[in-house]
Amino acid sequence: MKAPAIVPPRPRWLDVVGALGVVALAFTVWLGLWITPPDVVQGNLARLLYIHPPIATVALYWAGGVAAAGSLLYLWPRTRSFFWDRLAASAVEVGAVFSVLTLVTGSLWGRPAWGTWWTWDARLTSTALLLLLEIGYLALRRVPADPAIRARRCAVAALLVAIDVPLVHFSVDWWNTLHQGGTFLDPGFQIHASASMSWTFLLAFIAFSLVFVWLLGVRYQIEVLQDVVGDQELEVSLAERWSEDAELVGVGGPEPLEGGGAP
């Protein structure tokens, strides 16, 4: 017997986060492009700094952190669950988009400020390496394998991505780089910007963080749907195969798999 599938419900809070993210992003653009005054040194070019550091923060710390935590919790036997694997995979994909934007917005700032689109500076190179590692993770994820084996492989790959995160962060301290250190905060957490600039930067940070949470949530839902559909297709194929075998030999087929066909 067959029954129609149950589609997992969409959490309401995620729509609220998405709406707040869009509103915050709209205010960020308005403040960043029209309201805040030009910088004394950089002029209007400083307006790019309202989006570049927040985007980089999401790519590096939020996405990298979720991917690392999810992978560690999957690898740890006591907390092992495909929830963590899906969360890490979602974080890496969303993080890759933010890594691309980090490099593009940084390059657009670097061209007029440094006179070059790209230089093999430690911060830039380690960020490019982060993007390459994320692409590698996503490629590995597409390799057909048993779900448990794929999850273990990807968890290890995500940890390689995570290793690059402190490398990017400390690159400006460990090497003599063209890229400056803290843009708005120094190591003593002293703010180097006027009040209006600081508020715009703070709003941008919140806006991109909210957008990240929404994107992560939707991407996670896709991971769940893919797994449910994959499991059901497997179950249906096995049931059909068993019924064909049973007809051939004239006996009942084996018991159906428990736990949705998972190993």
């Binding site: 029954a3 599938a5 589609v7 700032w109 779900p147 896709i222 797994d227 249906v236 159906p256 998972a262």
Partner: protein, 52 residues
């Protein structure tokens, strides 16, 4: 177009396109799930590894 305008336009457009692509992918998989059938014995079953 200035570097600043280009930066904002590229960032917002990329995020918008990625968000739309995610929503469309989610809708496609939801449709695939609705169209699929499953054995009655599996009713309420969670995807692999999911803990209830």
């Amino acid at each position: 177009m200035s570097y600043v305008d280009a930066g904002y336009a590229i960032a917002l457009a990329t995020l918008f396109v990625y968000a739309v692509s995610l929503v469309l992918r989610r809708r496609r998989w939801e449709r695939a799930l609705r169209m699929s059938e499953r054995p009655v014995a599996e009713e309420g079953a969670l995807p692999h590894g999911e803990r209830s």
